[in-house]
């Protein structure tokens, strides 16, 4: 299962994406500012509750990040080992372990955001965040990245199957990379030129109509919590 939006009726689902982004950023800020046993102990309940508020379990959220886990474990281990007496440096290991644990908390909260926020909401938030022409184009371009990712993935997978079927897997690594990437790149260039024709045909404009974003009471509440967290980071 890849980390993606899941429809649901959690508390976080009902919030405005901007409020959720503020919460997420504030949480990361506090976690980085207070990487102490006490600070992280206080933040842990928040991070564990976050996936529940997005109708998911913390375990499922952790499973999304299994690729990062070896790196998180390696940090304290490498910090602990030293190439001379005293061989094991416990203090450095403890600092690195706290840092690793902090990342786990930040990842949990980030997963809760992704679970509870449809991408078009995020896109609207991007447009709101970056005003004017940059925001308009960035909003559309981000949407295009979402649209073309699966298409190019299947182009590359097909190309790879084709190369393997012709015994490409027996070739040296450099050749394999080149053969697969050339196919992907040729398709991508082709798709880009057709896309630009299609955009022009549909009057791609600097000022399209944005989807409505409305701040309600609970969004202000969430923003208040975010501000409080951010303030806690400064203490």
């Amino acid at each position: 299962m890849t980390l993606a939006y899941r429809p649901g009726s959690g508390v976080l689902h009902a919030l405005d994406p901007r409020a959720k982004l503020a919460l997420q950023a504030a949480f990361a800020l506090v976690a980085f500012a207070h990487t102490t046993p006490l600070g992280l102990a206080l933040l842990t309940p928040l991070a564990v509750v976050a996936p529940y508020l997005a109708d998911a379990s913390p375990l499922a959220a952790l499973r999304e990040f299994w690729v990062a886990l070896p790196f998180l474990v390696a940090g304290p281990v490498v910090a602990a080992v030293s190439l001379g007496p005293p061989w094991i440096r416990l203090e450095a290991a403890a600092a690195a372990a706290l840092a690793s644990y902090r990342v786990v908390l930040v990842l949990l909260v980030a997963a809760a955001y992704v679970y509870s926020t449809p991408t078009r909401d995020s896109r609207a938030a991007v447009r709101w965040l970056l005003p004017g022409r940059i925001g308009a184009v960035a909003g559309v371009a981000v949407a295009l990245v979402f649209r073309f990712l699966p298409v190019l993935q299947s182009d590359l997978a097909g190309r790879r199957d084709a190369v393997n079927a012709r015994l490409g897997s027996e070739r040296p690594l450099r050749e394999r990379i080149r053969l697969v990437a050339v196919g992907g790149l040729a398709r991508a260039l082709d798709r880009a030129s057709r896309l630009s024709v299609a955009l022009r045909a549909r009057c791609f404009a600097w000022n399209p109509t944005p989807p409505p974003l409305a701040y309600r009471g609970r969004d202000w509440l969430a923003t208040g919590v975010a501000l409080a967290l951010a303030a806690a980071a400064l203490i």
Binding site: V78, A110, V114, V145, I177, V182
Partner: protein
């Protein structure tokens, strides 16, 4: 509720073309993150993400190559599964190897700058091989500097240790990607590009 009553302000043809290319290259870098090969000289498998960074610099130039990878980060931050292993969200950007991700736009811009200079874009096929290699080596240095620095800051370890854990295993694979990218620009089936 406010009502906008502006007239439609069309985006110019040239910009449309560039935005389309930037978006597709950002998606391509994301799709490359899913392609991995076993590495003959190191236990870490080779993924092609960095090749996407190189190609964006070479084919889009310094400005749009950099913007394209910035777009890649923005799309990943709001939830597109474009980062290594199909991860997404601000968590990946703040995680242990977020430093790599932050360095991509800078690296793509630098690759474009060294390969094309500040004047107009040359066809990638017409850029000399030494120049291409120099451009991609510079890009590689930026990517690994960013990755090491990011790991050191996030994991709270020294730079040397961060380099050992987060970078050393991946460096040898870059040679294959640089060689492959040079081969790509010299490939006949890319037609006009």
């Amino acid at each position: 509720m406010s009502v906008e009553s502006d007239s439609v302000d069309l985006v110019g043809d040239e910009i449309v073309e560039r935005v389309a290319r930037a978006a597709v290259f950002a998606a391509l870098a994301g799709a490359f993150a899913y392609v991995s090969f076993p590495n003959p000289v190191s236990p870490a498998p080779v993924t092609l993400q960095v090749l996407g960074v190189f190609l964006a610099g070479i084919y889009l130039g310094p400005v749009w190559g950099g913007l394209s990878l910035a777009l890649y980060l923005a799309a990943g931050a709001v939830g597109a599964p474009v980062f290594a292993g199909g991860s997404a969200g601000l968590g990946a950007l703040l995680g242990p190897y977020g430093g790599y991700l932050w360095s991509y736009p800078v690296a793509a811009a630098l690759v474009g700058l060294v390969a094309h200079g500040t004047s107009s874009l040359a066809k990638p096929r017409d850029v000399s091989v030494p120049r291409l290699i120099a451009a991609m080596l510079a890009g590689t240095v930026v990517v690994y500097a960013g990755g090491t620095l990011g790991y050191a800051v996030v994991q709270n370890v020294g730079l040397y240790r961060a380099f050992l854990v987060a970078a050393v295993a991946f460096v040898p694979a870059e040679a294959f990607k640089i060689a492959a990218a040079v081969g790509i620009t010299r490939t006949e089936d890319l037609g006009a590009a």
